[in-house]
């Protein structure tokens, strides 16, 4: 059986790890961001590990049911991995910095608001 491509393994491994951390101990997500990382949360922008963690720690829910229906992963020209997660909708850009994969870009939009009655 053929192994999945490397970027699929990196991307899906990251997504699994990210949501596991999010659900069990959200503050540990800090390891995944750098001071140059960007997060857009429902159109509002945050830059840097501290600002991102302040936002993620202050979300009004303490626990959330993550429902992932699909995920796509691409290699990019600069040796990054771009990942799109459907369900709770997130887009990540992952970069290898000092032999560790970090999240340089993170976008979130709840998709539900597009489908009002």
């Amino acid at each position: 059986m053929a192994e999945k491509p490397m970027w699929e393994q990196i991307g899906s491994g990251f997504v699994q790890h990210y949501y596991q951390q999010f659900d069990t101990d959200r503050v540990k997500l800090a390891d995944l961001y750098t001071d140059a990382s960007c997060l857009t949360w429902e159109g509002e922008g945050f830059q840097g590990k501290n600002a991102i963690m302040t936002k993620l720690s202050s979300l009004p829910f303490q626990t959330i049911q993550h429902s992932i229906t699909a995920q796509d992963h691409h290699p990019t020209p600069d040796s990054c991995v771009m990942s799109m997660v459907m369900g709770q909708l997130k887009v990540f850009l992952l970069k290898n910095v000092d032999n560790k994969w970090v999240c340089t870009n993170d976008m979130f939009r709840l998709a539900l608001h597009n489908f009002g009655a």
Copy 2:
């Protein structure tokens, strides 16, 4: 009035141009991809300008109403622009190659299938 950041101008300009081309003359989208570009369409992968254009040209609809409800844009560490488009859901990664912005990565998922009864 402050100008929008450069990456917002590049990203939103690209999105407007992309959908205008898509709606009026889809084959011209070829200018926006390179032979290294990747497209994932509902989980199916296509690489290179030719494969991508074959897919986009063979879509079962001839015209489509593009309904964009929100878009987000980020600068990335490698001087790319990452854009997420809600509505008909697309993610693009744009890179400046030879002084021209091309789409190196393109992901599409119709969001509706997540919300079955």
